[in-house]
């Protein structure tokens, strides 16, 4: 029917030509008042930019947490020895020259025997030493570990192989370098088959392992190896034989000796759901065994939970900012459109006299508002994509832009335009044509 064919919305859908004509009229009107249009759209720009940035930073936080957990292993509980703060000040009561702290063999044994549902406990010792290759040296850590270490920590071998069970049993002087150590000590040639020296001991290199990814490690892209500490790994048995249980270290005032049985232990829980309860059990054992706070427990799953919480807080804060700026932006658009409707009363009267229906007028103004918000949305998306890049660059926070995020933000801007455009458009359409024509 001709009536249906004349309905403005149907006509827009039916004829791309007509749609383009209506849209280009809207664009023309927006372009006519460039500065005003820009200022009007600014609110939407900020709103959309913060939506995009919020999603990118939130996704980044959760992505980072997941990466971290992948590295640490979601089934793992990591125990670390920490030098207790009060022993730093000279241990006045004991008068002992040797500071003794950290996880002990008894702890490990007890955990192994009493906590159910855990498969392996891998303790390791870590010393800070200077590592040599001929006259090249690097400050680094030497770790005494079990052959299962790479699997437990999800670290890939880049070259060669890790320490074997036999080497561990036979207490052989072999080692594996991490990437950083390999890069610093063997910048030009392949390290495998060669040896490094720590104090007076030589270790034959069997392979190179990737660096440990620490939290906030450089955002996206290859984290530079210079950020990581050089590490070498030797069999724990070898370490005990050669370095004993007490380590001496030079300090500015003289000697300092410390006795640490294990610097680190990784407990693997069979069932991921049980990690938290097992962590609680281990915590109790360690609290009973240790008077001082000389140990620390890291539960990767809990890290995830914390990251999720951070993400949530971020989403709430930025979400509110986004909502408020979109609201303000929407009100700004509505305000300007109301002014524009008044300003163009005459035009509305003319159009009505020439046969425009109320729906035609509504559509004209609504398309204008939507375009205004849409243009604001596009600018907002561009700004919003720039923010995460700047944030990762300057704050070193990982950000992840999902493809749907800009699309969502843009849709929100268009919806804002429509929502806040309806009232001015209806007001324009409802005008009495006679009075509108008389308007000066």
């Amino acid at each position: 029917m001709s009536f249906l064919a004349r309905h403005p919305v149907l006509r827009l859908i039916a004829s791309p030509q007509h749609l383009w004509r209506t849209v280009s009229l809207g664009l023309k009107t927006i372009w006519l008042h460039k500065l005003r249009s820009f200022l009007t759209a600014l609110g939407v720009v900020f709103g959309v930019a913060s939506v995009v940035a919020m999603l990118a930073i939130g996704e980044g936080a959760s992505h980072e947490a997941q990466e971290q957990i992948k590295k640490l292993g979601s089934q793992n509980i990591i125990l670390e020895s920490v030098k207790p703060p009060d022993s730093q000040g000279g241990a006045a009561e004991t008068r002992s020259m040797v500071i003794e702290y950290g996880l002990t063999a008894r702890d490990i044994e007890q955990i192994r025997r009493t906590v159910p549902g855990i498969s392996i406990v891998v303790p390791s010792r870590i010393l800070t030493e200077i590592i040599w290759n001929l006259d090249r040296k690097v400050d680094g850590q030497i770790g005494g570990v079990l052959p299962i270490y790479p699997q437990m920590r999800n670290r890939r071998m880049l070259l060669g192989r890790f320490i074997s069970d036999l080497e561990q049993q036979e207490r052989l002087p072999v080692c594996v370098l991490n990437q950083s150590a390999a890069a610093k000590l063997f910048p030009l040639d392949t390290p495998t088959g060669k040896s490094v020296r720590v104090r007076g001991y030589y270790y034959k290199i069997t392979g190179v392992i990737e660096d440990e990814t620490k939290q906030g490690g450089g955002g996206g892209g290859g984290s530079s190896s210079s950020n990581s500490t050089a590490q070498i790994f030797i069999p724990d048995t070898t370490l005990n034989d050669q370095f004993g249980e007490t380590f001496f270290r030079y300090k500015t005032g003289g000697f300092e000796a410390e006795k640490v049985a294990f610097h680190e232990a990784v407990v693997r829980v069979n069932d991921t759901a049980q990690v938290m309860s097992r962590a609680e059990a281990i915590k109790q054992i360690l609290t009973t065994n240790h008077k001082k706070e000389d140990w620390r427990m890291i539960v990767p799953i809990e890290l995830l939970r914390q990251a999720e919480r951070t993400k949530q807080i971020f989403s709430i804060v930025l979400g509110s900012i986004a909502a408020i700026s979109l609201l303000v932006g929407g009100i700004g658009i509505m305000n300007i459109m109301l002014a524009s409707v008044t300003e163009r009363t005459r035009e509305i009267g003319i159009r009505r006299a020439l046969g425009a229906r109320q729906a035609d007028i509504v559509l004209q103004f609504l398309i204008e508002t939507t375009l205004l918000a849409g243009v604001g949305g596009v600018i907002g998306v561009v700004v919003g994509l720039a923010i995460p890049i700047a944030v990762s660059h300057f704050a070193g926070v990982t950000t992840v832009v999902k493809a749907w995020a800009p699309a969502l933000a843009f849709s929100i801007s268009v919806l804002t335009g429509i929502a806040f455009g309806i009232y001015p458009a209806r007001r324009a359409a409802r005008m009495n044509p006679v009075e509108a024509l008389r308007h000066e």
Partner: protein, 243 residues
Amino acid sequence: MTESQSSPIIKLVDVRKSYQMGALTTQVVQGISLDIHAGEYVCIMGPSGCGKSTLLNLLGCLDQPTSGDYFLGGKNVAHLDDDALSEVRCRNLGFIFQSYNLIQQLTVIENIAVPLYYRGASDKEMREKAERLAAQVGLSHRLHHKPNELSGGQQQRVAIARALVNDPLVILADEATGNLDSKSGQEILGIFDELNAQGKTLVFVTHDERMVRRCKRIVRLEDGVIAHDIPGGPAAPALAAAA
């Protein structure tokens, strides 16, 4: 008046219009009955406040009578809803205003095509018709100019082309020559004569004596009723003034 054989294009039957202003009701049009036939050239005159603008608005379907019937082309349009009235304005009526009322951001050709746009015409039809009408009013060389780049006479010619574009039953004008200098006014009056000669029906509200001399019929309103309904012609201004 002698009734012609054909039915009138415009037929008003006891049309009244009143406005409510607070507690006060003002009767502006107080029972007008009027027949206008195809090809007539009618001038509506009268002192200010006599209701001639209101009558023109009613004839133009911009306003609706409080009571009475209005048949336009045989169809009663007195009680149509807003959408149907818009459709009537779009297809059956052409408007010419004193202050031209062109849309400033549109070019000449776009202004002429506005009624076609609301009728849902294709791009091709819009372009062709608008170009043809622009040529008819002598503006072929100004197609892509904006109204503010044109003289008053030229702007009014754009408005005439626009009023003709949907081939309406009636062309309505409110003081079409009121804002023009005498030369431009003369040109516009010439175009009206031509249109009437082609058989177009013209209903104009005017004070312009030259127009009154040219028209075929004068309807003089006083206090919302028809005071005189006399033939136009060279002697008409004196008659109308005396009446």
